[in-house]
Symmetry: D2
Subunit: 311 residues, 4 copies
């Protein structure tokens, strides 16, 4: 079940549940896997930034991958970004052996020139091996690395095992249009483009040619519906649903650990996570913040009853 460039739909980025004392919460992890399975998704990405991957040690990361891959029937992608290629390779090989469908690789924030970015992905692809499908994570806001469309084309062309772009440049709509233009003019083979940024531009990203969403949002059901409606050409309906969620979606998009705190709070409210604990460095959602989230959810619920969650 290796990931290919034909993938479409919604691949949520999963958070990682912890007990208040910092241990991984395996019961919640299973509950989350089941929740996602029931939400109509097309795959799941674990161990990304949002999944607090850098806060796990190697053994913990492998244990989480084993548990999720073993429980889910959709393709599971695993974030393997690491300070060096040896650690990246070690994790990639282990999770692929466990049945992962592919891996996601973000660049270190020290890269500057076009050639450095291209060389980085060349070395990464070589390190994990040519049989491991990989996803480029293009997230300048967090990584401080800017990849032009031409650089992405170079990476795709050099590395046959590159099958997908997690697009989260910002602004980025014209980038999707340019990349799809490269495919149309024959200068780049097709890759899947799924978009991140918490879904903040998903409505228009779909219209520009994205294949779906690859992002964390506490109501993946909405992402699934918007992607479906958009692909069905039901533009107004897609925007109506998206806009109903946008005030809360925007609230989730507070950068760093606070945005994650919001999402974990809602996962707890939805009965998926037993706790909203984060590992350090962590952010707390204040009482005022929780009340703001509750208010926003109650407003969505007027339109989309799935957002009606017990207080």
């Amino acid at each position: 079940m290796a990931l290919t460039s034909a993938i479409k739909g919604v691949i949520p980025i999963a958070p990682t549940p912890f007990h208040p004392d910092g241990r991984v919460d395996e019961i919640s992890l299973d509950r989350m896997s089941d929740f996602f399975s029931g939400a109509g998704i097309d795959g799941l990405t674990i161990l990304g930034q949002l999944g607090e991957a850098p806060k796990l040690d190697h053994a913990e990361a492998v244990a989480i991958a084993r548990r999720v891959v073993g429980r889910m029937s959709v393709p599971v992608l695993v974030g393997v970004s690491a300070p060096g290629f040896a650690a990246m390779r070690a994790l990639a090989r282990e999770v692929m052996d466990l049945g992962a469908a592919g891996v996601m690789i973000g660049p270190p924030n020290t890269l500057r020139t076009d050639d450095q970015v291209v060389a980085y992905y060349r070395n990464a692809a070589e390190a994990i091996g040519p049989d491991v499908p990989f996803v480029i994570q293009d997230y300048p806001l967090t990584f401080s690395v800017v990849m032009t469309p031409a650089v992405i084309r170079r990476i795709v062309t050099e590395n046959p095992s590159c099958v997908m772009l997690k697009h989260e440049d910002w602004p980025g709509l014209d980038k999707i249009t340019t990349l799809r233009g490269f495919e149309a003019d024959g200068s780049m083979r097709h890759i899947a483009i799924l978009t991140g940024n918490g879904g903040l531009f998903l409505d228009f990203e779909m219209e520009r040619g994205a294949d779906g969403a690859n992002t964390g949002y506490a109501f993946p059901e909405m992402l699934v519906d918007v992607v479906r409606l958009s692909r069905a050409g039901e533009r107004d309906a897609a925007h109506d649903l998206f806009d109903a969620h946008l005030p809360y979606l925007r609230y989730e998009q507070q950068q760093g650990p606070l945005g994650l705190a919001v999402r974990k709070y809602v996962f707890q409210k939805r009965g998926i996570f037993a706790s909203d604990a984060q590992r350090k460095p962590a952010a707390n959602l204040s009482a005022q913040g929780k009340a703001e989230v509750d208010y926003l959810l109650s407003r969505i619920a007027r339109v989309d009853p799935r957002a009606r969650v017990a207080p």
Copy 2:
């Protein structure tokens, strides 16, 4: 009409109109001043980042300030951020002589430590002179400078001429709460807090204690109404109006010259600007982008007829 810490309400950040050949468009500048005057605002900030201030030479900046200050009856604030204190002083003294109410100062992106930030504002306040009221611009996303609440308190305490914070940290709601807490516990004197970030969190910023908005948005009338409703305690009405605009407001919030291109396009559609030209480095709003904006405005117009603009 010097700015004081009692200022409240909406102070838009003004863009600068150019002719397609790059010259300042004075007719559009006058039309913009009149438009803002009619929008119920409480002040106007010119020559900020959004106003393409770094792309103007000194003489142009002074000419724009003269023209706007001379035409408007509300307080006019002028951005005087500069690579050095001599240029900052030169501009500040000239625009104050022309009748400006105060100046706005953002930090250079090379500052790192708390002491460096505090020293920067101490030197800036000394350079412009103790009689010139100034606004701290706290905008980490663009400036890469992070000011903790404690650092802001040090700046406020050291510099009697600091009267206002343009708050655009992100995330930043708890920062407002903390700063208002400093005032409540007596550890910091009162300053005005008006918020930026294109208004993306204005709904909750008001509820956390902000005094208003100090940001660019193509429909300042909405900002005025949301601030008024929020201060009147009409929470649901404030959110309803805000949420109706949010899909487009979010679209404006594409960082850098593209977000500005969106706003200038709408100013042109509204008949305020003759052209949406930017000085280099500039971004173009593609035909697809323009169609997306048109679609978003048509959706707002179902609720708020002011967004109904001729195609």
Copy 3:
């Protein structure tokens, strides 16, 4: 043999030898341990940046630590900088169990404010456990994190297990003076200060109050002599020896993988390493570069015969 704040002298930072195919070269590793043992050093730091630690996976890092600790009779410090505290803890606990004397921790390049830096070291100290002595690595040029003397004092005061500063701020002479002043005025307990930056300012750092050197240089014998002469008050002799090495020492100080390539080339010439291979991302020392190094060494050898190495 736990590291204490009484440590003085020279603690070289060790490179890691690889075979040309990228495997760790254990024979060269042993030879390097023996070489350092014979050079009159007071300790050894392994798995730092210079040791290509980020390019190793966890198992490799532990294996190297086991081998070096088992072979040497001086205290061995181990770099445990990691993207998260779980990985840091895992490595720290393992190497301490193997007999390491302490660990070195550099900050992630995303820290900005004073409080963030202090919190980072608080969390790190908690993660590794209060029984593990640690060294602060203060290296703004590489880490982009600036720690004022007051911040270092906060870290030292909060964390009894902090025993040493690897000082490599640049410029940094006055920082040593300020920190020693904190000790003199009783506002900070004593810590060891050993200096890095490839030794570029070792001559004056000793005179400002440093306890020695904690850096990579291909001739640690020179560092040992300069530290000894300086502590004995033989100022001119210390500078004469230092100055004789400076043209080459400066050549080693080319940032990033090139500086390491220079050092590995000389280690190979000295018969310590079988190969000058680096793991990717690597730099090659060109033929021209090698000839330049040879020329520089021949010039040192006129004064210090230890620099006379077979071509």
Copy 4:
């Protein structure tokens, strides 16, 4: 006397003398011009970073350029780096009208991709006009902008008015070799390459193909001699002289305002400047620092009597 790509030799970067109260010291400025004229230089660059250009306002910058250009008979280059192209153009046109030979342009520290760097110089060249010869300042350590040799080739090829590279990448020796290789293989026209970085690698930069030095050092006479000896093929003599100065030259190379404080202190000692004052933000050379400089100069003076300066 327009600058051309045939320029060779030593073009010092001049500091700017201030009175202790911050005013420009015109008498010292004249004395400095005369001093440089007597030092055998081939040109002079004013208003660079080292010249505290960002701390001057426009009128001050023009006044300094007028005074220096009017007094000197060698080509005078003027730094015109600015936050925007309008200010850059205004200064460039004025100083060229005053008789400057060309201008120097460094990139803003926000540029990331290859295309952004190339576009920046295209826009800059257009802004100042095709008749104004310009120098690329390639200084990643300070500007955080990395230009590969291929990017420099694109800039040179696109802009006929680009005549020189101020090379101060670090490490950078192979970059000179690569660029000279581009000329040899016909893929890039010839440009002058003069090197910066305070001269720290001048000895080998000359051997790699540099045309001279374009940097600040308190003894430009040494730079002149090293360039002359190197071009005459007197390798050992060039290195002997360079090495005698290196311990102090290295001491000058403390980044930021401290390095400038060292240089101004020596200019004061040499009787060129009346004061070592800097504008804010400034660094002070401590008493200990001054004693260290005195010691270093006394050591140079054993070999090069020009370094014997009255205490």
